[in-house]
């Protein structure tokens, strides 16, 4: 689907302005209701008991004492969540992840849950549950898990993607390969070949709001779920399937969401809350603690990888190869595959290959984390690019410009690119004043690029015009960072009315058709597209009503500046009819005026970013400080520049934390040692400088306004940008994230032979 160029580079009246967001006042006054802020009459407090072992057989669970405790209204185990998945392994994995079924697969795996009249009693009840574990050998490191003889995490798994198909179980769930050309010939052509191995530790999305829900199941099978999620429809479909409820009878309402970044695109404990409610026959509020969030939900993969690049002295890359090993936690997934698809996406390469191993370990089920899988591969690739630049004595930006993908490039993962922004972001970086700023002692500058696909997907929007001409826009994508403002702006633009006349809400699942989860930066892209079409649908109705009022043919009526205008010689003297006037008369001209759109929003449009980073490294301690940071990214069209900048800055800050501090630390016992914000240290205000941004607008031809997803790409470059800066500041090449002070100090000492 491509739109006429008249829809790109168009003049906008509302879009592109910095308006105030509609949910703003509620959020600065404490009125906004998040996952944990809802209550229901007679509600109980739910709590979950989790495995303290990395890998164990569960011989028996004795809940009798807990059940007898006064104030306990329900105790559930896997027995209360029978397997209704009928061979759907993905669904079965979700079920087993919600509640262990005969085995615990990681430290923090849920094994039982209680609902009680207060938190104190619920806590006591958990202590009364006796679980008889038989501890099994475990593995938490990705490279260890791939070795022959490693403890097997999932005996059912046979590696997919190898020939012949294996007959024995393996921790490698899948091998995937992307690329084209002839690697051997390419490396033979190279003047220099650089090969390096890298490792990245596991990080968590770190949303400040823990998972929370309020579940209510009635004896008649009607159920409600209030939940902090990026995917209310995903929650509905999954929970209904796992509990045997009818989809239409489970109404899911997404609360305000206190951050998700991919971690709230999955089902975690919601089926447990529903099961508790069903058993107790009362509403149950289940809010995870921070420790549970770290141990039991959502981290991204830890990885290990080998990157090899061959280049000629003029900078032409002749061959590029990546071998990626990503751990998916205890359940099979495709995170390694996504890493392989993104690894080389920035470049125009004749001979290229990326091979990915998806590997199981005894860690929590890995969830999406902002541009999932791309930052790690980019860490390896972009670090190696700098090594190549140094080897041939070329400026790192020039090397990248020389090899940058462009319109018509066949991407390493298959498709051929349309108009894309990697070249322009590199040119912008090259010309950015940041590049010329002076540096002092122990300071260095680095840069790196990043890529993300962006998703579209199923979307559905309702637009209803009130009798006073104000407009309700109901969308089904969750507002994770100002989307209601952007979507209201789009509706106002199309209808030709002021932004303030539009009120956008996120509808519950019973009030609007299916919407895919808000992930892959799809919210503003796809709901934006559906909003454009829903508004045009409403405009069609408005024109009809005006035609009827005037008693002229509808093709003599056009919609401009929020009014119907009659045109043609014979109608020129009719005064225009405004939206307000048409809305006021709706009852007499055919009833309510509305517009709808249901769409699979294709063509989200890939996006690219280039980051520049200055860093100072203290050679005595290995501690580093970011001095200056610049994000340059292609947004297609920035609907609301403040929120586009905010996405760039937030993504960069997460990448910086990942690069410098954040990591899951597992003990030899397979237990997570730092499940809290004190020891899992995300970037705080005093760690960062101002984060400069430059928005480029290379319109996406597949969207009526040229929009691309913007939310994710900028988490991709920071790891390598920082490693490259560090190498220039301290003369050490860091190949293992986080590049925390002890690791950096060790590298400095080794480099200086101390």
């Amino acid at each position: 689907m491509a739109f006429d160029t008249q829809y790109t580079n168009q003049e906008f009246k509302v879009v592109g302005k910095r308006v105030l967001r509609p949910d703003g006042i509620d959020k600065v006054t404490g009125r906004a209701r998040y996952g944990a802020d809802m209550n229901a009459p007679g509600q109980l407090v739910g709590r979950i008991l989790r495995s303290p072992h990395a890998h164990a057989k569960i011989r028996a669970i004795d809940t009798s004492k807990a059940e007898k405790l006064k104030g306990v209204k329900a105790v559930v185990t896997a027995a209360d969540l029978p397997d209704l998945t009928r061979g759907d392994m993905g669904m079965y994995d979700t079920l087993e992840n919600c509640m262990a079924r005969g085995r615990a697969l990681y430290d923090g795996h849920a094994v039982a849950a209680v609902a009680a009249i207060d938190a104190d009693i619920a806590r006591k009840a958990l202590k009364l549950i006796k679980v008889d574990y038989e501890i099994l050998p475990h593995v938490t490191d990705v490279d260890e898990a791939m070795k022959p003889g490693a403890p097997i995490v999932q005996p059912r798994i046979r590696t997919v993607g190898v020939n012949p198909a294996p007959t024995k179980p393996s921790n490698i769930s899948q091998v995937s390969e992307f690329g084209h050309g002839d690697l051997d010939a390419g490396f033979a052509e190279a003047d220099v070949i650089v090969e390096k191995s890298y490792k990245t530790e596991q990080t968590h999305q770190g949303y400040i709001e823990p998972h929370a829900c309020l579940a209510s199941v009635g004896p008649d099978g009607q159920a409600e779920l209030w939940v902090t999620t990026q995917g209310p429809y995903m929650q509905r479909n999954t929970c209904a399937a796992l509990l045997g409820l009818e989809v239409a009878k489970l109404r899911v309402t997404a609360s305000e969401i206190g951050g998700g970044f991919g971690g709230k695109t999955h089902v975690w404990m919601e089926p447990v809350a529903l099961a508790l409610s069903r058993k107790a026959n009362r509403p149950v509020k289940l809010v995870l603690t921070r420790e549970e969030v770290f141990r039991g939900t959502g981290p991204t993969c830890s990885t290990s990888m080998d990157i090899k690049i061959g280049a000629r002295r003029d900078g032409t890359i002749t061959a590029a190869q990546a071998v990626l090993r990503y751990q998916d936690g205890a359940f099979p997934n495709i995170w390694g595959m996504l890493g392989a698809m993104t690894a080389w996406a920035c470049y125009d390469l004749k001979n290229v290959k990326a091979t990915a191993y998806d590997v199981l370990v005894n860690r929590p089920k890995v969830a999406a984390y902002r541009a999932p899988s791309a930052p790690m591969a980019a860490f390896g690739v972009e670090s190696t690019m700098d090594l190549v630049a140094a080897e041939i004595g070329m400026d790192p930006v020039e090397l990248r410009i020389k090899n940058a993908a462009k319109e018509g490039t066949r991407a390493s993962y298959g498709p051929t690119y349309g108009p894309i922004g990697i070249g322009p972001t590199l040119e912008a970086a090259k010309n950015h004043p940041h590049m010329k700023a002076p540096l002092g002692a122990n300071q260095g500058r680095g840069m790196a690029c990043g890529f993300w696909f962006n998703f579209g997907g199923q979307t559905c929007v309702d637009l209803n015009i009130g009798q006073d001409g104000t407009v309700n826009l109901a969308v089904g994508t969750v507002d994770v960072g100002g989307a209601r403002a952007s979507l209201s702006m789009i509706a106002a633009e199309e209808l030709g009315i002021p932004y303030e006349k539009v009120k956008c809400i996120v509808a519950d699942t019973a009030s609007l058709g299916h919407n895919d989860t808000t992930e892959g930066s799809r919210g503003t892209f796809s709901s934006g597209m559906a909003t454009v079409f829903a508004a045009r649908d409403a405009v069609r109705v408005l024109r009809e009503r005006a035609a009827k009022t005037w008693d002229i043919p509808v093709d003599r009526v056009e919609w401009r500046d929020g009014k119907a205008h009659a045109f043609g010689d014979e109608h020129g003297n009719l005064a225009p009819l405004s939206l307000e006037e048409l809305a006021a008369k709706a009852a007499r001209t055919g009833g309510p005026i509305a517009g709808h759109n249901e769409i699979v929003a294709d063509g989200a449009g890939v996006s690219f970013a280039t980051h520049i980073c200055d860093i100072e490294v203290d050679p005595e301690t290995g501690k580093s400080r970011i001095l200056r940071y610049t994000v340059i990214q292609d947004a297609g069209k920035a609907i609301h520049p403040d929120y586009v900048e905010g996405q760039f800055q937030g993504a960069a800050a997460q990448g910086i934390g990942w690069a410098l501090n954040e990591e899951y630390i597992y003990g030899a016992d397979g237990r997570l040692q730092n499940p809290g914000f004190l020891d899992y240290r995300i970037a705080v205000c005093s760690d960062l400088p101002m984060l400069d941004t430059q928005i480029l607008e290379i319109p996406n031809p597949n969207h009526p306004y040229g929009i691309r997803g913007v939310g994710e790409t900028s988490i991709v470059p920071p790891l390598a940008a920082i490693a490259n800066a560090m190498s220039n500041a301290a003369g050490v090449r860091m190949t293992h994230t986080p590049m925390s002070p002890p690791r950096v100090l060790k590298a400095i000492r080794e480099a200086h032979g101390a």
Partner: protein
């Protein structure tokens, strides 16, 4: 254990409640008083989402007990605005898009209020260190620092950009300032 009876002042109102001896101030505010503006991000004093002001001092409500509040004065985000008139911090947070998901915002507002009460004209660095106990995972802090800086300027010279109405119009002049100021 017997419940404790507490008489205290919350956002200027005299309030009485009884709570369990081990119940945190945060739980009392959220579950007994219906003041859910203060958030629990960690429950262990590490995130600042529960920041409130007790007797003029910034504290983590998750680290204090409800039972300790007898005779004291508690300020929460719900008491920040003066009726329909937003506090300049609230206005500037909105104007500068200093919130995305907004779950950290109540804590940042209270921590910023405490900062500006003791330092009316903070530098960028002073703002960054004063807010280092408040985690935000969405914004990268850039727009938060700018908002606090702008609010300080607004409080110092209220006449200039007409705070007072709920959320009037456009970004104040100097909205893109670096947040740096002299001493």
């Amino acid at each position: 254990m017997a419940a404790v009876l507490v008489s205290t002042t919350v956002n200027g109102d005299a309030v009485e409640y009884s709570c369990a001896p081990r119940e945190s101030l945060l739980d009392v505010l959220r579950n007994r008083l219906g003041l859910t503006g203060s958030k629990e991000g960690c429950g262990t004093g590490d995130c600042g989402a529960c920041s409130v002001i007790v007797d003029g001092r910034l504290v983590c409500a998750c680290l204090m007990l409800g039972a300790e509040m007898d005779g004291r004065t508690v300020e929460t985000v719900e008491g920040l605005a003066d009726g329909a008139t937003l506090h300049p911090l609230q206005t500037k947070f909105l104007e500068h898009a200093a919130l995305q998901c907004g779950v950290c915002t109540p804590g940042f507002l209270m921590a910023s209020k405490a900062l500006l009460a003791r330092n009316a004209n903070p530098t960028e660095e002073e703002i960054r260190f004063a807010l280092a106990g408040n985690l935000c995972r969405c914004t990268g802090y850039d727009k938060i620092v700018r908002a606090v800086s702008a609010a300080a300027a607004e409080l110092a010279h209220p006449a200039k950009s007409g705070t007072g109405k709920k959320t009037g119009g456009k970004k104040a002049a100097g909205g893109k300032a670096t947040g740096k100021k002299k001493g």
